[in-house]
């Protein structure tokens, strides 16, 4: 199972763009990259998923280079409510559903 490495914490200010990079050097051919967001006292919530190149939805963008050994979650114009822990996961469910969470990145957005 691919292991991911993310920064433990990041600080930002309201209105800025935040980029969180995740390293996954051992990603397998069939692995997808998925990001979750978790607020205190809540379960993780799906943000975005991709396989290669760029994916964008109403919340975020996900950039994946050609070698797929890393990925970057981009949050445009963050607000205070984006303060949360962000997890990067790689994997596929034919591994028995065992999706592995790392320690995540704690993002703090300040006014």
């Amino acid at each position: 199972l691919a292991k991911t490495t993310q920064p433990i914490s990041m600080d930002s200010y309201e209105g800025q763009e935040v980029n969180i990079t995740c390293s996954h050097n051992n990603i397998a051919t069939n692995d997808y990259i998925t990001w979750y967001q978790q607020f205190p006292s809540q379960g993780p919530r799906f943000i975005i998923q991709g396989y290669k190149t760029k994916v964008t939805n109403e919340v975020a963008s996900l950039f994946i280079p050609a070698d797929r050994k890393s990925s970057t979650l981009s949050l445009p114009r963050v607000s205070l409510s984006d303060t949360a822990v962000y997890y990067c996961l790689v994997g596929q469910t034919n591994q028995g559903g065992k999706l592995i969470f790392g320690q995540g990145t704690e993002l703090s957005v300040k006014p």
């Binding site: 069939n30 997808y32 998925t34 979750y36 006292s41 809540q42 379960g43 993780p44 919530r45 799906f46 998923q49 822990v85 997890y87 596929q92 469910t93 034919n94 028995g96 559903g97 065992k98 999706l99 592995i100 969470f101 790392g102 320690q103 995540g104």
Partner: protein
């Protein structure tokens, strides 16, 4: 419909007591997962069900932990003879599919916070 529902929201148990944690997945979801999350850590996989079949229980930390999903919907995680190290948030997640390859995202409940005193 409603999301994944877990109960109780909080549970305090004295060391040595047995506890049962309930998960109501989203209706019709085939796959169900249990995770354990210690304070300040990411969720750690415990076990996985596809309908009523428990396909992976490799993450259960000891034989004191037992999970079931007898009718392929509601699931119960039981911990016998609780210990202080069992204190954590227990998260349940479900997903619509259950095929060999399914990358659809997990839908998590808000967890049960277990405190063992």
């Amino acid at each position: 419909g409603a999301g994944v529902s877990q109960s109780p929201r909080y549970k305090v148990a004295k060391r040595g007591q047995d506890v049962a944690l309930r998960c109501d997945p989203i209706s019709g979801h085939v796959s169900l997962f249990w995770y354990q999350q210690a304070l300040g850590q990411g969720p750690e996989f415990l076990t996985y069900f596809q309908n009523e079949a428990q396909l992976d229980k490799s993450g259960l930390p000891s034989d004191r932990f037992f999970a079931e999903r007898p009718e392929g919907s509601v699931s119960t995680l039981k911990i016998q003879r609780t210990q202080q190290e069992d204190s954590a948030v227990y998260l349940c997640a479900s997903r619509p599919g259950g095929g060999v390859v399914d990358n659809s995202p997990l839908h998590f409940g808000n967890g049960t916070r277990l405190t063992v005193t």
